[in-house]
């Protein structure tokens, strides 16, 4: 495994890791700065949430993709993660959907 060819590849990878490191730091700082700016309509912070989550997702992609080598991982792992993501999405989406007021017949009881 650790033959000469491999070592070459690893050396190249190290450069990549450092670049990503930089990107992650920048990402963090941007997230913080952006949080002080208010986007969209007054009283709604939907856009702010989306922006913050978008940056976080990019960062997550970088960590998972490169530090965790997911980009070049095997089919089996993709399969497992795909299933997980699917079920997670199901849990999140269906639960949130089930509890959305428009989908429920009940209202919040202000008084017992």
């Amino acid at each position: 495994m650790s033959d000469a060819h491999d070592a070459q590849a690893v050396k190249a990878a190290v450069r990549k890791y450092l670049i990503i490191f930089g990107a992650l730091i920048v990402g963090t700082i941007v997230t913080v700065l952006v949080s002080f700016v208010h986007f969209g309509e007054e009283g709604s912070n939907t856009i702010n949430i989306l922006v913050a989550l978008a940056i976080a997702s990019v960062k997550a992609f970088l960590v998972a993709g490169y530090f965790m080598h997911l980009i070049s991982e095997r089919k089996m792992i993709y399969g497992i993660l795909l299933a997980t993501v699917f079920f997670f999405a199901g849990l999140m989406y269906l639960t949130v959907w089930s509890m959305e007021p428009v989908n429920l017949v009940h209202i919040k009881a202000d008084v017992p």
């Binding site: 017949v105 009940h106 209202i107 919040k108 009881a109 202000d110 008084v111 017992p112």
Partner: protein, 252 residues
């Protein structure tokens, strides 16, 4: 068919459709069960080792089973589309107009049922959560005029015959469940939520309210609540007799 299945008396309008659905599903189940069981016993007899010493590598070559499976799926789909979905929508989406119905607020507590009627003005009095206390369990705002004629009862709910009744169900402490078997109606009473449901009684009488959700050590004894289905006249008399007892609390 009620007798055959052992269902309790039926006293509500939508209940007949509940019974229908239960009946049809059981027909499907019965057909499947009897059919397969007959096959099963036959095969056990026919292919027992002493009678059939050598097994057949290939076994059955049949597509009949696919049709059974498709059939089951089709019947399930049918029941879903024809009965279950439309009638559920009717129950939860198509509420009768509250002006034309009797509206009752139901609040469960360990281990009793509280009911509240609007009284003649057709309006519930204001309530405020901060006012809830042992002596004012509904948190009634004392000087709200709409609240003066509200009627509160404990463990006694009266409804007129053949008139839509809309219930707003909630709970004060833990989750209970408002079930009246004769109405084929069950609805969880969940604290923090006001859940509406409705029914139309079709038979006068006195029906027991069952608490169908484990709610503590008194759950089994949460049995003193009743729904009385009265004639329109009796019902109105009762309402009249209750007004005046107005703002009095029903707690304890």
């Amino acid at each position: 068919m009620e007798k055959l299945l052992g269902l309790p008396v039926l006293a509500s309008e939508h209940g007949q459709h509940v019974d229908q659905l239960i009946w049809y599903v059981h027909l499907l189940m019965g057909a499947l069960f009897v059919g397969w069981l007959a096959y099963f016993l036959l095969v056990l007899f026919k292919f027992r080792a002493s009678r059939s010493p050598k097994a057949d590598y290939i076994g059955a070559q049949t597509h009949a089973t696919t049709w059974v499976e498709v059939g089951v799926a089709a019947v399930e789909a049918g029941l879903l589309i024809i009965i279950a979905v439309p009638f559920w929508s009717k129950l939860v989406d198509n509420f009768p107009k509250e002006t034309e119905a009797v509206v009752v607020k139901v609040a469960a507590q360990q281990f009793a049922w509280n009911f509240r009627y609007t009284g003649p003005d057709g309006e519930f009095g204001k309530q405020d959560i901060k006012l809830v206390s042992a002596s004012n369990s509904y948190g009634m705002v004392q000087d709200d005029p709409a609240g003066q004629d509200d009627i509160q009862t404990l463990n006694e709910m009266r409804v007129p015959l053949n008139k839509s009744v809309v219930l707003h169900i909630t709970s004060r402490d833990v989750i209970h469940s408002f079930k009246v078997a004769a109405f084929r109606l069950t609805q969880d009473a969940i604290p923090g939520m006001m859940i509406p449901t409705h029914f139309k009684a079709t038979k006068t009488g006195r029906y027991q309210i069952i608490c169908a959700q484990l709610c503590g050590n008194g759950h089994y004894g949460m049995a003193s609540g009743f729904v009385y289905v009265d004639t329109e006249e009796d019902y109105n008399n009762w309402i009249q007799s209750k007004i005046g007892g107005g703002g009095a609390t029903s707690f304890e």
